[in-house]
Symmetry: D2
Subunit: 247 residues, 4 copies
């Protein structure tokens, strides 16, 4: 079986700006933390890319060789080039998988694919979140018990302005009184998208084994079934069947 | 009960350019044909708007007074101003209903709300379409028997690149061998959207009583439940519940 | 416009057995509390029925004259006659609306229509529930703000073994740490079903104006679009179109 | 990777009663035709079972060792023991996959899991069917082009009385003028169900390589993510979080 080519994209600004984050939480960046987990498995070919690299680390040869793109962004969504967003968008519609993490809910690529504002409520006091599995037969829930508990997480609350997910896998409970559709699957074009809420930069969420397991499952779920070159309208002059036009 | 304010928007180019269409099919334009049907009912307040009017006939005071916007466009999608599309987009997310007819599948507003390419197959030989009701308990199917038969229609065929509809009400059968998800409901933001495939400009589809009944039903279904002024992220500093943060 | 004929069915055992409930909470029964609210509106024709009446209060002439059936049951699901359940089941598939309240999740009629176990977690300590609106454009959410707060309710927690709802309108947050899909819409046959979680018999939930508003909205949403006499397979000998069979 | 244990259940009556079917189409039975295809692949462990065997070939040790059950039945649905149906039902809710083929739409197990009548229209003149892929990113569509064409098939037409599928993968076009939701995915409990329409006993459908490929894909999609022993309500006395009950 051929390997799944995963590219982990990270804005990589918080880690460079905050000494606390750099020293204590993500010395290798969020992308580095996720990459080092995924590299333990034989079935992934892992690379990373960040905002400040040329072409945000996503030149054509990288996108052409990416089966599933993971996206983490927060404070610099506006700095991502529209041209590159357009390329990613077409790749997804043509089959590439996309996993949008946490504050990527407001990224250009995610909102463009959703067609909605993707707005929500938020509060940053480090309260507890408990992610409940509501679709235990979904492959993204594989290996997860009834719930995942995160001692500290930023609150994201409803109403989350997304289209109804094709499958809702996790619902988050927050200590302060809110709920959130924290794990959502979408088919778009030939591609598949998973939004996963956990992952605020000030907490070590991407070292949590269960969170990492969900990301791994999501990659396997989102890998392309079929890739096409372009998605477009077709003029089919000849009918497949004999047609008699009445007067 | 207050009236539903309906604005019927039409590109209105085919009717002006083609003598055949102008003389034989839509002398008042497609918008005129739909408007004259809707005006028979007490519960609608109907106006029309077209591409070549100032602001495409959709200045703020019109959009502010529109509960449901009907959209027909085909050869001039690119001429619709991005600024006005952005306004309509926000209105839908804030509660306004949208009914996208036929070739509006490629309109800026519909593709933006879907987040996908909305591409499809097509063939224009005037073959027969039969629209089967697959969700007879849906209010948009009210008053329609098992199917609607159109003696002549442009073929639109799968794969239609849309997100899975929240409800699929009609599936179209075409004589030449294709099928199409011809009647599709979507919730987006606080708004509701209905895509309805019939309505090629060279056939008198919008005089068909059943097609008009579906459009009427769709307006009643899509009327706003709640309208808000703006859709945005909220920072909720204070939790609703007492929170104890563990160390 | 003709009135919507609503029949409120209640097991009506707790109210008769518990002096506390009878004297302090539901002296007229849960059905009585809901009925007295609905009777304030012109567009409903309201009747009630209870388990211990002949035919559980649902002889054919009642079912034949019911547009929407509301169901509350808890400790005596097993006493409901299979024959009557079968009649209700057919009525729903033929167009009648059904609103299943609270512990009706385990009623014969609801589980039969869902096709799943409808099991869940529960805890009865009278904790707080907050029901968040996640689909604000849905007519069942009309008139409800961001959430409904219930100071005391029985906890119902995920995983709730139901099919994915066609629309998920409310998600419940519970103080003790659970979440629940508390307001769920389903199309089944020609009928529509709404499951609504609040309503434990020891709390005065069915006097809460917002809860009652949701029930009213749900009735209006679930009223039949079309009623048929029977749902069955049809042998269609003659094709609608000319068919040539190849060798 | 451990093998997927597949049990192919067939009513196996048509093949024994009709000389034409036995001699010309399915000399080894429908189950035999599907089994001989699946046995070519390393990742399946295949067995078959038929109605007239003891326990219909499905004693507990077989069900306990089945990951995905394929079901074909037609003229003898009523002869399948309710006790065995109940066992299969619980197995599905506890994680076992189920693939219901063709006339299994009226089988006890499928209708019980759907909660609806699963009725439809039908016509048996051997007309052409074309199955269009509408969700090309779904793993069940892997390796299938735009459509599968069957020169001769029994017509199954809408309205098919099923709940809205979680994913609609194929829509069938029939020469005589009907359409059908021919490939439908459902999550129920911890299990997954795929309904696939092709397979009338008088045509050699289960030798068609594309049809077989879809069945293979469906098995891989429906294999259990997690299996549980029993699905039941749980009384959770202790809240996960500290709860203060207000007066």
């Amino acid at each position: 079986m051929s390997k799944i080519k995963v590219t982990i994209w990270n804005e990589y600004r918080h880690e460079k700006r905050s000494e606390h984050i750099a020293a204590k939480i993500y010395p290798e960046g969020i992308h580095g933390a996720i990459a080092s987990y995924l590299k333990k498995f034989d079935n992934f070919e892992v690379r990373t890319a960040t905002l400040d690299e040329p072409f945000h680390g996503l030149p054509d040869e990288v996108l052409d060789n990416t089966d599933v793109l993971i996206w983490w962004g927060h404070i610099a969504h506006g700095e991502v080039s529209d041209e590159i967003v357009e390329k990613i968008y077409k790749k997804v519609l043509c089959g590439m998988g996309l996993i949008a993490l946490h504050s990527a809910h407001l990224s250009k690529i995610f909102t463009k694919l959703m067609g909605t504002s993707c707005t929500l409520k938020w509060r940053e006091i480090g309260e507890k979140e408990r992610l409940w599995v509501v679709e235990p037969g979904h492959p993204i829930a594989e290996g997860i018990d009834e719930y995942i508990e995160l001692e500290h997480e930023e609150m994201y609350g409803e109403r989350f302005d997304i289209p109804q997910p094709d499958s809702l896998v996790f619902i988050g409970w927050f200590q302060g009184g809110e709920v959130f559709r924290s794990g959502c699957c979408f088919h778009r074009g030939y591609g598949k998208i998973f939004y996963f809420q956990p992952g605020h930069e000030t907490y070590p969420i991407y070292y949590n084994e269960k969170i990492l397991k969900v990301i791994k499952n999501a990659i396997e779920w989102a890998k392309p079934v079929k890739r096409i070159d372009t998605i477009q309208c077709y003029h089919i002059r000849e009918p497949l069947e004999e047609v008699k036009i009445s007067e």
